[in-house]
Subunit: 339 residues, 2 copies
Amino acid sequence: MKKKRPSIKDIAAELKTSVTTVSFVLNGKAKEMKISEEMTQKVLDYANKINYQPNQLAQGLRTGRSNIIVFMVEDISNYFFARIARIIEDIAYKKGYKVIFCSNENNDERSRDLLRLFKERQIDGYIIIPSPGIEKDIQNLMKEKIPVVLFDRYFPGLESHYVVIDNKDAAYNATLHLIKNKFKNIAFITIDTGQNQMLERLEGYKKAIHQYDLTENILAIPYRPDTVSYVKAIIRDYIMHHDMDAIFFATNYLTQSGLEAIKENFPHFLTELGLITFDDHEIFKIYSPSISAISQPRFEIAENLMRIMISLIENSNTPQNFNKVILKSTLFSRESTKF
Amino acid sequence: MKKKRPSIKDIAAELKTSVTTVSFVLNGKAKEMKISEEMTQKVLDYANKINYQPNQLAQGLRTGRSNIIVFMVEDISNYFFARIARIIEDIAYKKGYKVIFCSNENNDERSRDLLRLFKERQIDGYIIIPSPGIEKDIQNLMKEKIPVVLFDRYFPGLESHYVVIDNKDAAYNATLHLIKNKFKNIAFITIDTGQNQMLERLEGYKKAIHQYDLTENILAIPYRPDTVSYVKAIIRDYIMHHDMDAIFFATNYLTQSGLEAIKENFPHFLTELGLITFDDHEIFKIYSPSISAISQPRFEIAENLMRIMISLIENSNTPQNFNKVILKSTLFSRESTKF
DNA sequence: CTGAAAGCGCTTACAG
DNA sequence: CTGAAAGCGCTTACAG
């Protein structure tokens, strides 16, 4: 049953030529190496006929490349990241790369563990959502000439390739949307990490608020993973003690808990409140007639990430300028949502 | 900057011994090969000191193994699968394996494409949620002695390793739960695929219904991906023309659309209805005070999958009996839910 | 235009 | 107890 798969040597033997010739042809170097038209065809035809697949391990051992890309996100079970992963997967397979996903839980120690794990394992490149404190580690990767593209966040002090969205612009527009719909007391609920994408969202909110001479209303919740009930309690208390007619959740990590808190404690409130959630997650739209969602352009994000990554891998010798891609996101209101 | 990483040869040279000895020690065969205690220690210490990492490509080329496991699910962005993936990832890394995720979209053609893609790429083993028509392809993999473990579904006619949950039992208990809470007209909304896990859930429902002399109330919606509005319309019509005081959604693919349909068309109904959703997804619990969720034991599932997979890979020579693991799931009612 | 051969970093049968 | 050597399947400088 288990027949040995054909190697380049087998092809050479069958065609009474050398492995060199076969290898050149198969790698598209026939022209360059002046292999005869006839021989080239013969090799191509035969390889095709027996459905020759090169042994990637051997190729990798020889060339030092693995055709494996690591995609490190905060949590692969997060809806937004999972969607991106799905698209990246598709693009990668089309280009002959495999993708390994992993989750750093926004935790520096775990990020480092993972990087260490992959280190020296012939990973061709890394697409990373960096946890807050791994700037140095990213820098080290880059020093070793390993392709790295950051995503979702970046380090202002570090020159690197990255793909992010214009958070300030998105938050500004979303806040404007609320204001134009006559909401006046808009609360901004965020997580109290120093993460720059959160700060930018806050800035966007502030800009709109000041532009219309409204009052800031900010709740920054300390970051603690896995404590939904804790978040709910804080939000409940905040709502209880502040006047507001709209809420802007700066991340979908908060939206679910927040809406649940409202639903449990102020059910009547839910239908009146203006609501914005960051990171489009279809299900949130069901909660309230007036909720709007900021939707990040997933296809564009994935395409840009992979375009940069592949170009880095395949032109590792030619130095490149840093690719800094900043994409716009879209605000979906309930009416304009197509399911 | 870029220093060559140490190889076994370097260690041998440094220690004035041979690569053979080093290799034996590093592979834990020191005892077996009667390497002296002293030499063993020396090698271990030095390898440790320079943080030696074997080149997995070379290892793989030599041994024919890649330490890569493929985890093929229906859609990695589906919450349940993503959670499982997350756990599998953890276990795999601890054991020195890498995991490649991919999504077959429950589509046979795509499943085959993916299998073809990975074929001959030195994948050590496959964990697969099979799409309906790939029984033959699975069988072919198995014939080639490639470790395969099915998950979530299996083919009744195919002897294979699998990990599933007891769908009939879960559906039976959930229906019983409704009945005991005085619901009498319980609708069962499912997808009309021949998938055995759906049929088993239906059986469980029927068993409970008959046991209490109630009437069956079944809506089987034709499977079409990505047509939420279509599903919503069907469910709305069905509710309009049938009497019911409870609904059992056979898969979370339907729950969201179903609840939305109800919310839009019969809002008052939502708080009175008894509701069951298959596949625990926390957010669904927010919709209605009376919704209960069947929660599959994710850790147990992942642990069993990886246990079987690793044992298959590492004992590929010793034939094994087929591992058929059937796990029980839990019914979470709102009150008993801890966030 | 084409081929013989070295070498990537391992494992392991074989010989002492 | 330990070492020299073959070989996994490739790529590519080198030689003709």
